[in-house]
Amino acid sequence: MTKVSSTLAPTGGRTRGGLAWFSRYGALAAFGVLLVFNIAVTPYFLSLQTLNINITQVCTIIIVAVGMNLVIATGGIDLSVGSLMAISGVLAPMIFLGQVVHIGNPALAVAFAIVIAIGVAGLLGLFNGWLVSRFGIQPIVATLILFIAGRGIAQVLVDGNLQTFSVPQFAWIGQGSLLGIPTQAFVMAAIVAAALWAMRRTRFGRYVLAVGGNERAASMSALPVRRIKLAVYAISGLCAGVAGLVVIAINSASDANQIGLGTELDAIAAVAVGGSSLGGGQARLLGTVLGALTIQLIRYTLLANGVPDAAALVVKAGVIALAVWLQQAQRRT
């Protein structure tokens, strides 16, 4: 019996000020600093055009990051999202261009394509969840499978060819705008809002946090642990499906080799910087959004001021390392 019994271990008191503050408000502070810096230094920063550019680039990441946040909240991770984006982004044009089934009405074809593409991505996400919950396979490994095979499936479907299309009923998703703000921003906002609502107002949200917070306690409290895990991976897949569609809508082009490349890492980075513990039990959705925006803003700041994109990668790496380290250090106090 060399375990320290619960009588001896002191219960966790309030976390120490400095590090705890950083963990909660670090992203916000960084974002604020960057904003101020850019307003002061970068030319044309406060323009609608700049806003549009940044939003376009960050939307898909945020959409994927929402699903990723839920998965991480249960103590897991989803590496396959980039590949699922590719599958979705390849399937949709195939359908509404009539390559799979012929549908007369273009609007109907587009609607059908959207549903199928997102649905397939969701089913593949469910597959991930099944591997994790039924076999107890580590999430990294389970999702690695589709990470490898998923993009291959997308490439096989179109033989690696670029698909371009001119279908206005679809393109508005990526190219349209409402009140000067790109449509995908609304899509993103809707998804974030839905996720926030689910986490705060539904049973499901509480269960997700419980499973990630203490899985054994969750089992002993008769929570449906397996079903929750299946659900979050399916949701992550669905988000990836949506993101894939947005990406191809932006340029009216679908390149199986490029869609979603590196997005899983961007999403994980957004979650980490946003303050949700990578070990599970927390889902700071707004933090994640802020994390994605911060990383995007860092990138933009560097770019707009003449620093090569490559260097931005190094900076991004540093930011992620710092954010995760700070979180871990704070949790250890």
Binding site: I77, G136, A142
Partner: protein, 322 residues
């Protein structure tokens, strides 16, 4: 003891599958076993083999190294830049760069206590950025007059130099794993970190060493990439870590750490490489037309089968234990 039958399947599964695949290819296609083809497969897959060797050791400690692809790319650029100094110059530059990246990984994991996944993710991004910066966003041609390309394109007798390097390093790796305390330390760290500490072994030092080694091997792979293709390529290397992880797992090494085989990893690498060749030959026959993209799908499937098998063994072992 059903578990042990499955475990034996793991240990030798990759080798058996490889033999079966080679037999299939030899029977079905002409020239499959030709000297040219065999050596060609060896030369092409040498880089992946090196990266997989490093990954094998890292995974055996219970960790993972996502940075190997980007580090190899960075090393290839460094080697290309140093190539005018000849083989030694290019080699030293590439391996040094890889080693440095590996050391960073080792420090992040053992000192900053970051999860290996995060730590190597960070290094991957940073190496990617550094590669692009160093190369100026383009490929960097190597010097053809300094003899540097020999290490990638040359032969020693009938054997391509890269293949010989791989064989030598795998032999060394296997020796270290089976016959040295350091090698057993690797397995002990993955199989029970606390227990190994109590045994007087040093898991932190072991972990640091494997990440450093993985980096160095990735560096060497980058050197071969530059020498073999004639250019340092900052964007190549994408997906190498996946290839490596898949090879290691298919070879029977447990992803949870603590058990594995260097030679089986080589079998895994060759299995995946041969698969590509078989696909090419199959396309050549004209009966079917499978694009190269099918590779990833098939790799994913192989990984799936192995992973589920491993998980089933684990679950069964767990049930027997209590």
């Amino acid at each position: 003891m059903e578990a042990s039958r499955l475990e034996r399947l793991f240990k030798h599964g990759a080798t058996l599958a490889l033999v079966a695949l080679i037999a299939f290819g030899a029977l079905r296609y002409d020239n499959f076993l030709s000297l040219y083809n065999v050596m060609s497969v060896c030369r092409t897959n040498a880089m992946f083999a090196l990266v997989s060797l490093g990954m094998c050791f890292v995974i055996m400690t219970g960790g993972i190294d996502l940075s190997v692809g980007s580090v190899a790319a960075l090393a290839s650029v460094a080697a290309a830049k140093a190539s005018p100094l000849g083989v030694t110059g290019g080699l030293a530059a590439g391996v040094a760069v890889g080693l440095a990246a590996g050391v960073v990984n080792g420090l992040l994991v053992t000192r900053a206590r970051l999860l290996p996944f995060i730590a190597t993710l960070v290094t991957m991004l940073a190496a990617n950025g550094c590669a692009l910066l160093l190369a100026g966003n383009q490929s960097v041609a190597v010097s053809y007059t300094s003899g540097f390309t020999g290490i990638g394109q040359g032969d020693l007798g009938i054997f391509p130099v890269p293949a010989l390097i791989v064989v030598a390093l795998y032999a060394l790796g296997s020796l270290i794993l089976h016959r040295t305390s350091a090698g057993r330390s690797v397995l002990a760290t993955g199989g029970g970190e606390e227990a190994s500490r109590l045994m007087g072994l040093r898991p932190d030092a072991t972990k640091f060493a494997v990440y450093a080694a993985s980096g160095a091997l990735a560096g060497l792979a980058g050197v071969l990439l530059a020498a073999g293709s004639g250019a340092g390529q900052p964007t190549e290397g994408v997906g190498w870590e996946l290839f490596a992880i898949a090879s290691v797992v298919i070879g029977g090494t447990l992803l949870t750490g603590g058990a594995g085989s260097v030679l089986a990893t080589l079998a895994g690498v060759l299995l995946m490489g041969t698969l590509f060749t078989v696909l090419n030959f199959e396309n050549g026959l004209g009966v079917i037309s499978l694009s190269a993209y099918w590779q990833s799908v098939i790799r994913g499937l192989m990984l799936l089968v192995v992973v589920i098998l491993q998980a089933t063994v684990m679950q069964r072992r767990h049930r027997h234990a209590t």
